[in-house]
């Protein structure tokens, strides 16, 4: 193997080295388990019985954190998405995501249907 091609192959190995270690996976799992326990506890306490913002907002935040942990660490999204590291693609992706969320909530807020 030539020095140049070896450099290329090692460059790829270097990328792989950025994946989490087994210990880091366990840490992510423990974090997910703790957040799930807190979610259940938060939903069960009498303070949040009315289903208001005190219940919904913390639950949404905790759900988002779990989402990011699984997608980022377990699905390697944080580590091997060169597509998202390029500024051009990132801005397209981010713009589309923001637009999609805005359209979703507008449609959701104005949606009406009749069942009876």
């Amino acid at each position: 193997m030539s020095a140049e091609t070896a450099a290329a192959v090692h460059a790829d190995d270097h990328v792989e080295d950025h994946h989490p270690t087994e210990g880091q996976y366990w840490i992510v799992f423990v974090a997910l388990a703790i957040i799930t326990a807190v979610e259940v506890a938060w939903a069960e306490i009498p303070l949040t019985d009315d289903g208001g913002p005190l219940l919904v907002i913390p639950m949404m935040i905790m759900m988002l954190v779990k989402f990011v942990l699984v997608a980022g660490a377990f699905m390697h999204l944080y580590f091997d998405t060169k597509i998202l590291n390029g500024k051009f693609f990132w801005w397209i992706f981010a713009s589309a995501l923001v637009l999609a969320v805005i359209v979703y909530f507008i449609v959701f807020a104005t949606f009406e249907f009749s069942i009876f």
């Binding site: 030539s2 290329a8 979610e39 259940v40 639950m59 989402f67 377990f74 699905m75 060169k82």
Partner: protein, 234 residues
């Protein structure tokens, strides 16, 4: 092994080709077709992985629609019931058994851990441990599925069927679709185990395990959303 007589010039810069793991012989000749799973694109991920991400994108649309439908349906169901509409019959969200569902959620989260450990093992050429972790993932997935079947059975005995009311239709459709996806994941995991025992799943094909892992983690993420939105918030 087919050696293609193609020589590709590779520089040390971080160009498109520099990140590609390309098998070569001792003379430095690049054999582009040797390692079909290691093909990468200019986007930084292999075509197979990109295809899986696109597929998962379409799944996001499916579950986004199902979760939205559930939210709208349950809001309407609760409103009509609170107003005393005589057409609204049957039980609603009071049937939920949160401790039981929390345990199910924990089981599915644990299966995500065993899935990444399976990929980690095969990535490092540890076939034996990859089999153990794949088996554990399939078992935990089956346990989750058994819990869902139990939950459905309890709900049915309590008087909530698919056509009982709007809540029942929305709930069974959403969680049922998720259950079908878990079943599909278990079949993929069992297929990987069979391939492994046939000697067809080794370090060179670790991306196959990673692709199934992506699907499995997606199913887990969907449950994270369902558990919080359906069981804890609404």
């Amino acid at each position: 092994m087919t050696w293609m007589p193609t020589t590709i010039t590779i520089t040390k810069s971080r160009s498109l080709m520099a990140d590609v793991a390309i098998p070569t012989d001792d003379a430095g000749v690049v054999h582009a077709d040797d390692h079909h799973e290691e093909h990468h694109t200019s986007l930084g991920i292999s075509n197979m992985k990109l295809a899986m991400w696109l597929f998962l994108g379409s799944e996001v649309l499916l579950f986004g629609a199902l979760i939205s439908t559930y939210l709208l349906s349950v809001a309407r169901f609760n409103q009509e019931r609170a107003e005393g509409n005589p057409l609204v019959t049957g039980p609603g969200t009071e049937l939920f058994d949160i401790p039981f569902t929390s345990a199910s959620s924990f089981i599915l989260l644990m299966s995500s851990l065993t899935m990444v450990l399976a990929h980690q093992a095969i990535h490092h050429g540890d076939v034996k441990n990859s089999r153990i972790w794949l088996g554990a993932t399939a078992s935990l997935g089956s346990l989750f599925l058994a819990g869902q079947v139990y939950e459905f059975t309890v709900f049915y005995r309590e008087g909530l069927g698919f056509t009982t009311n709007l809540f029942g239709s929305a709930f069974f459709t959403l969680t049922g679709f998720h259950g079908v996806h878990v079943t599909g994941g278990i079949l993929m995991l069992v297929s990987l185990l069979v391939l492994s025992f046939q000697g067809k799943l080794n370090q060179d094909r670790n991306e196959t395990v990673e692709l199934v892992g992506l699907y499995w983690h997606f199913v887990d993420i969907v449950w994270v959303l369902i558990f919080t939105i359906v069981y804890l918030v609404v």
